[in-house]
């Protein structure tokens, strides 16, 4: 409504315009290095070359959870401070999160075939991630079916907050239920337990994917802001036409 609400988005647009190129560059470099290291990384003594799947599986898994975290923060922004940018951030993050979760599931089950002898088992970790994926789809559906963005934003925000309980479930499912899936070996108290030769490329790939997320998220937010501007203008036009 007020000039401020407009100012923020437009100042944000200027900001993205400046930052995006650098982010893209950084992402590309990170991936170059990461993939190179991943290629050089030695095979795991028990998992053989398939350990290479880890270099995409794990970063995607982390991002899957990170995206929902971002959405949760944005949700607070929407409900508490009613900040329009929060709505935009939440909406832009949802499809990315869905995509990364999908990749986590896919690469995971591709890894599972050789390691566990099956693509899919209904263990705590796998299923809780599947639930995360479903909730992403639910959120996407909500965004898609509600025409009025601010109304949708508030609804999605509440859903996101409640859905956040799934994150700890995912994180600790491996410890709570007896599962096939490895327990945390990187993000754990008392430091990582993986050998450096694998840990380093993993972390670099993690960084690369994180940069990728930031880039895409900024770009998506920019699109969303433009989309809302279009919507507003359309309304103006309808009113002018009346």
């Amino acid at each position: 409504m007020t000039i401020i609400d407009l100012a923020n988005p437009s100042r944000f647009l200027a900001f993205t315009a400046r930052v995006l190129p650098w982010l893209v560059a950084a992402t590309v470099c990170a991936f170059a290095v990461g993939l190179y290291l991943a290629a050089l990384a030695p095979d795991d003594y028990q998992q053989g070359a398939t350990v290479k799947i880890m270099f995409i599986h794990v970063p995607n898994a982390w991002l899957a959870m990170f995206c929902w975290t971002v959405m949760t923060v944005a949700a607070l922004g929407t409900l508490v401070w009613r900040h329009p940018l929060a709505d935009v951030a939440a909406k832009a993050a949802a499809p990315l999160g869905a995509a990364f979760t999908f990749l986590c599931l896919l690469t995971g089950s591709l890894w599972g075939r050789p390691m566990w002898g099956t693509y899919w088992v209904w263990d705590g970790r796998l299923t809780s991630v599947l639930v995360l994926f479903l909730m992403y789809l639910g959120v996407l559906a909500l965004w898609r079916t509600v025409e009025d963005p601010s109304r949708a934003a508030r609804a999605v925000a509440i859903l996101t907050l409640v859905g956040a309980i799934n994150l700890p479930i995912i994180k600790f499912s491996v410890d709570w239920w007896a599962t096939l899936h490895q327990p945390a070996s990187v993000l754990r108290l008392g430091g990582p337990t993986i050998h450096r030769s694998i840990l380093v490329p993993l972390l670099v790939m993690g960084l690369a994917f994180m940069l990728l997320f930031l880039t895409l998220h900024l770009a998506a937010m920019r699109n969303e802001i433009l989309r809302r501007r279009v919507r507003t203008l359309r309304l103006m036009q309808a009113q002018a036409g009346a």
Binding site: L6, G48, I56, L216, R228, V230, L233, M236
Partner: protein, 59 residues
């Protein structure tokens, strides 16, 4: 250089390919979307619904 991916090369390749595909799709979508929005914005403003009125924006 040629990597020796062992017996499960297929799975690894598919995993990496899939990741590449999905990320590519995301990028493509975002770029296309950006183009589309820009275009509509342009011709809306061309039709004289000025930026000023967009100050009424309710994000």
């Amino acid at each position: 250089m040629i990597l020796d991916l062992g017996p499960y090369a297929g799975f690894i390749v598919v995993a990496y390919a899939a990741a590449l595909a999905v990320v590519a799709a995301l990028i493509a979508w975002i770029v296309a979307d950006h183009r589309a929005q820009q275009r509509t914005l342009k011709d809306l403003e061309a039709r004289g619904i000025g930026r000023r009125s967009a100050a009424k924006e309710v994000a």
